[in-house]
């Protein structure tokens, strides 16, 4: 089990859509954690190229994160009014909206490539892969992790054969990984407690863990490692846009919204979220494709009001430091926090 062999209990969150780089994954793996490459929004060929690039610079273990495709395309009538509403944004930004389309993010080709590449870990978000997919990857020596947000999803993931569960709390930045309906998201500490009884697979805690104390809290609550994303977004190795880096550094409220992609995701509250959040339909990846040009233009212009500023609830704790330094500092602080609390509790 790869989690037993890590020097520090820190897993890099996938950070698809820009921030994820080979350099960032390498830095976390070389620091003794587990780096992750993001297959999401890339072709299978790009993903394979990233894996080869990682292996050219590190012999440490790493993982690849894959988006499980949606069960079905959204009904065009469900999102047509929203697309129309966004027309004014497009005019204002001087770019055309993207085409709403449903795709599977090159699912079959990615699975083929991952099996052939025999990467150490593959984690899934947005859905529970079929048991056959899990079995095939495991037959190639791959550890399969599935991201869950409720006890019911944990049960499904274990039934599908997951080797470990990534447990995503309400605090997490970026997309909700939920797939079995999430009437009311669970806070991370609550969700970890509810999974105690099901510890047939190790738990990797995710959501707002950006300090050693936070990581210590997740470990004390039963997690074997912490998946850390936002705390690495300001590292020089990350591909984070400048406008996003600047926003992360300041205290500011975050909220969960479908405004940018048609799937609930947590980001720093900005004009786009406030104006469109209530109107946004459940239509992923259709709305992701529609708003992509707007967001790209916003990043180029440095306009924080139209960019998806994905961030966990503790984003202001993210430091502009090299990733290895962040990883080692967090691990050291977590160890100290556990020792302090344990000493007090004797």
């Amino acid at each position: 089990m790869i989690l037993d062999d890590l020097d520090i209990p820190i897993v890099l969150a996938p950070l698809a859509g820009g921030p994820a780089t080979v350099e960032l994954a390498r830095a976390v793996s070389e620091a003794g954690g587990l780096g992750f490459l993001a297959a999401g929004y890339r072709t299978a060929a790009d993903m394979a190229e990233q894996v080869r690039s990682f292996r050219a610079v590190s012999r440490r273990p790493f993982g690849v994160n894959v988006f499980t495709p949606p069960p079905a395309a959204a009904d065009p009538q469900s999102y047509a009014p929203y697309v129309e509403r966004l027309g004014e944004e497009a005019t204002r930004a001087g770019v055309p909206l993207g085409e709403p389309r449903c795709d599977d993010d090159d699912w079959d080709a990615k699975l083929d490539a991952l099996a052939e590449l025999a990467v150490p870990v593959v984690s899934f978000v947005f859905g529970c892969p079929p048991a056959g997919v899990v079995a095939r990857l495991r037959a190639s020596g791959i550890a399969v992790w599935i991201t869950i947000t409720t006890p019911a999803e944990a049960g499904q993931a274990l039934a599908a054969g997951a080797d470990a569960l990534v447990v995503q709390g309400y605090e997490a930045g970026g997309h909700r990984a939920s797939f079995a309906g999430e009437e009311a998201p669970y806070g991370l500490l609550a969700l970890l407690q509810l999974l105690d009884a099901q510890q047939r697979a190790p738990l990797v805690a995710a959501g707002g863990l950006a300090s050693g104390r936070g990581i210590a809290g997740a470990l004390a609550a039963g997690a074997r490692a912490a998946q850390v994303g936002t705390a690495f977004l300001r590292c020089p190795e990350a591909g984070t846009a400048e406008v996003h880096r600047a926003a992360l550094a300041e205290p500011a409220p975050t909220a969960i919204t479908r405004a940018f992609t048609g799937k609930p995701a947590r980001g720093i509250v900005n004009r786009f979220m406030r104006e469109h959040g209530d109107a946004a339909p459940a239509a992923y990846p259709e709305i992701h494709h529609v708003t992509a040009p707007l967001r790209q233009a916003g990043r180029r212009r440095g306009d924080a009001n139209v960019v998806n500023l994905w961030a966990g609830q503790t984003h202001e704790l993210a430091a502009a430091q090299p990733a290895a330094a962040v990883a080692r500092r967090l691990a050291g602080e977590a160890r100290d926090a556990l020792r302090r609390a344990s000493g007090r509790a004797v």
Copy 2:
């Protein structure tokens, strides 16, 4: 500092509105934690009588929780449509609605009585008491705790002179304690991390802590103690209604709603919440008084669909055991969880 002298790092949540009893507070204090009496919804005379009753059966420290009054009454126009909407519920239940009225829950008389009784701890929810009130209580030898839900509220509470902060996460059952506006509630682990830099006063963590692992997580994240509510609701010493006890025992989603009282509060999702939640105004305690007869009738009839089933996100972990056994078990499990995580992190 009273938190240093507890044998176990467990503080009883106030549980106003039925569950709180002298017997429950006594059991937790005698087990080595800190029992709490709920002044909310009682007269000052009732509160004083409870304090005397507690002192007649225990020499251990305890606290009294007080509702800080709302800054102003709600505009009747803001809640009139909601009251009209609830008319059908009243007809169905065969009871009249209560009168919408704003009151201060006997604030001045309670402060007088508490200063005179010189109780060990007074905690506040729903607002930050003025610095003069804090100073007066402290001059009587009382430790003053203020409940907060955001870093900004923590700053206000410290400025008012709080001796300790009760840090309420999003996971918590019952009313949100927030007073400075809560655009998006913080998960407990996130909020504890954001308060790290402000540790001028010890933190008591609250919200969904119903297992030793959860409590260990809060302690590792920097809290000095855990405030536990839902996990005590099924104890024989608690005054919890039967219909509420039964609902707590089963896994079921919870959500935050204003439907019952006009103030956001977390409870198990039921028909009343689903049907009226979206329409409910911000008008506390006006709506509390309006729905009180409905809820009382529901408790009498055992109708889970109209009762406010306050519950934290981990309510199914609450055990039907004597409170001292619950407190000791949670503390022991928390110690074990900290030792385990600390051992692994060496």
